[in-house]
Amino acid sequence: MSEVLVLAETTSAGVRKPTLELLTAARALGEPAAVIFGEASDQVVSQLGEYGATKVYAVSSPDMQEFLSLPKAEAVVQIAQAANPVAVMVTSGPEGKDIAARVAVRLNAGILPDATKVSLDGDKVSGVQTVFAGRFQATSQVQRGPAVVTMRPNATAAEAAPASAQVEHVDVSVGDNAKGARVASREPKVSTGRPELTDAAVVVAGGRGVGSEEGFQVIEKTADALGGAVGASRTVTDQHWAAHELQVGQTGKTVAPSLYVAAGISGAIQHRAGMQSSKTIVVVNKDAKAPMFQIADFGVVGDLHAVLPALIDEVAKRKG
């Protein structure tokens, strides 16, 4: 079976959830081989193995983190040229897109950005993408490989399939021409203790209807009551009632949680594009005509400042 190169992302807490999803999706195409930058700790290697990686390419290049994406793309290209994989898979996101696009040009290979599903027909890789602001599902077939795929987080349920991962250390030569974009500073996101927005199973999001920065707090409290992440519409982040990184929609994050609670969000097409793959949608809005109700599984026409506090109390009561 052919290898599938899977670009693994790790944090101090171990392998990120979207990477476990990638490994799971990769198994439909071939044998997952993870690529990691930095130290291949026992914890990371065993976690990658648990989700099916039979090989871990550990790329050591001490200064790689100082430069934007290009050295990583060169490393992936060099590994791909040697391993001849059926596909190269990364997680959709700023860095994943940067790497995938460059890799596709270098390998003159078809790219499937933001795939939600991948499959293999004979020797050709196909992927499903959500297009036209979520209105259609398009299946595309890669005509020349290896298929370069960026997968949407939360589109695949991560499932373990234990394998024993063999570590292979790779030395990659990164040319000076790959070092033209230097990261001057990198400020890690401050942990709120809440799940990451793109990985969360539950997202509670607020829109214009929250009314103010103080008004947005009820969104945070509801998210905490339900153990979810906090999201926001563009109006809220433009008004600085919440941080930009919480924005859900076309110019923010795309999420697909099991539960999405939209409070005070009218549901402009740009917002819906970022969340309409959510499995269950609950809407609270004063305006019965808000387009958001059209995609609601359960909707309450009412003031979020009355409905959400009552919900928080009910959740506390039921949890005992």
């Binding site: 934007l68 897109k97 398009a138 974009a181 990198r186 995609i295 409905v307």
Partner: protein, 259 residues
């Protein structure tokens, strides 16, 4: 400093979009506009010209004849001239093909800094800028929420899932900007009229030294083989809050196993 802004003429987001029989986007049968996400790049270029950082701003698009409308809109916001690559053989190009056409056109126009939007509002791929960078052998800074330019470099702020980065990129470079950089101005009537006098140069594949078999549908590295409407969501239960709204939501969430 010469700035080239890559812009795309896209179907109006609120219009009903259709697929053509070859499963490409039917661009002829739908009203179009300058991609809203490219307007942010146009605005940044206009501001850099006003600050005296840019001595020349050129808008570049690849698209059907109607795409001229998008260039006129950009020229009403700012800039000096525009280039329109139009050729029937480009129809159906994949991202690799599109980036090849853009890169060849950029070699013709010349550039110090290339700006564009973070994505097109039709395909929403966010991969073409990096491909153009790779083909031209230049640096890139994508998803910039802020940018500043000095003589030899551009510095951007970008947010990834895990960090906020400040990146200094040596010129020449391509930078894609997000809506965080600020809304585009609304052009005044005088600017709209003035834009009509700004020159638009048309180029074909032959002008770029490309042959029809290098791009377009036949050369595409990916092909759409099936499209299906996203299954409609089944109509939900909508209630009006009578004081029990919160507990009814709780009932629903408990029923679905979320509490």
């Amino acid at each position: 400093m010469k700035i080239v802004v890559l812009v795309k003429y896209v179907p109006e987001p609120t219009a009903t979009w259709k697929f053509a029989p070859d499963l490409t986007v039917d661009r002829a049968g739908v009203e179009g506009r300058l991609s809203e996400l490219d307007e942010y790049a146009v605005e940044q270029a206009a501001q850099l010209a006003e600050k005296g950082v840019a001595s020349e701003v050129v808008f570049l698009t690849v698209g059907p004849a109607k795409a001229t409308e998008g260039l006129r809109k950009a020229l009403a916001i700012g800039g000096n001239t525009a280039v329109h690559v139009v050729d029937d053989a480009i129809h159906g190009s994949c991202a690799l093909g599109t980036s090849l056409v853009l890169a060849k056109a950029l070699e013709k126009t010349g550039y110090d800094l290339i700006l564009t939007g973070m994505a097109s509002t039709d395909a929403e791929l966010s991969i073409v800028p990096q491909m153009v960078a790779d083909r031209l052998g230049i640096n890139q800074g994508t998803f910039a929420g802020e940018l500043s330019v000095d003589g030899s470099s551009v510095t951007i702020r970008r947010d990834t899932d895990v960090a906020t980065e400040r990146v200094t990129i040596a010129l020449p470079a391509i930078v894609s900007v997000t809506d965080q950089t600020g809304e585009a101005r609304y052009p005044a009537f005088k600017a709209i009229m003035g834009a009509k006098k700004k020159p638009i140069t048309t180029m074909s594949l032959a002008d770029l030294g490309l042959s029809a078999d290098q791009v377009g549908w036949a050369a595409a590295s990916t092909k759409v083989v099936d499209v299906a409407p996203t299954p409609a969501r089944t109509a939900g239960t909508i209630i009006t809050d009578d004081g029990t709204g919160g507990s009814q939501v709780a009932d629903f969430l408990a029923d679905r196993g979320f509490i």
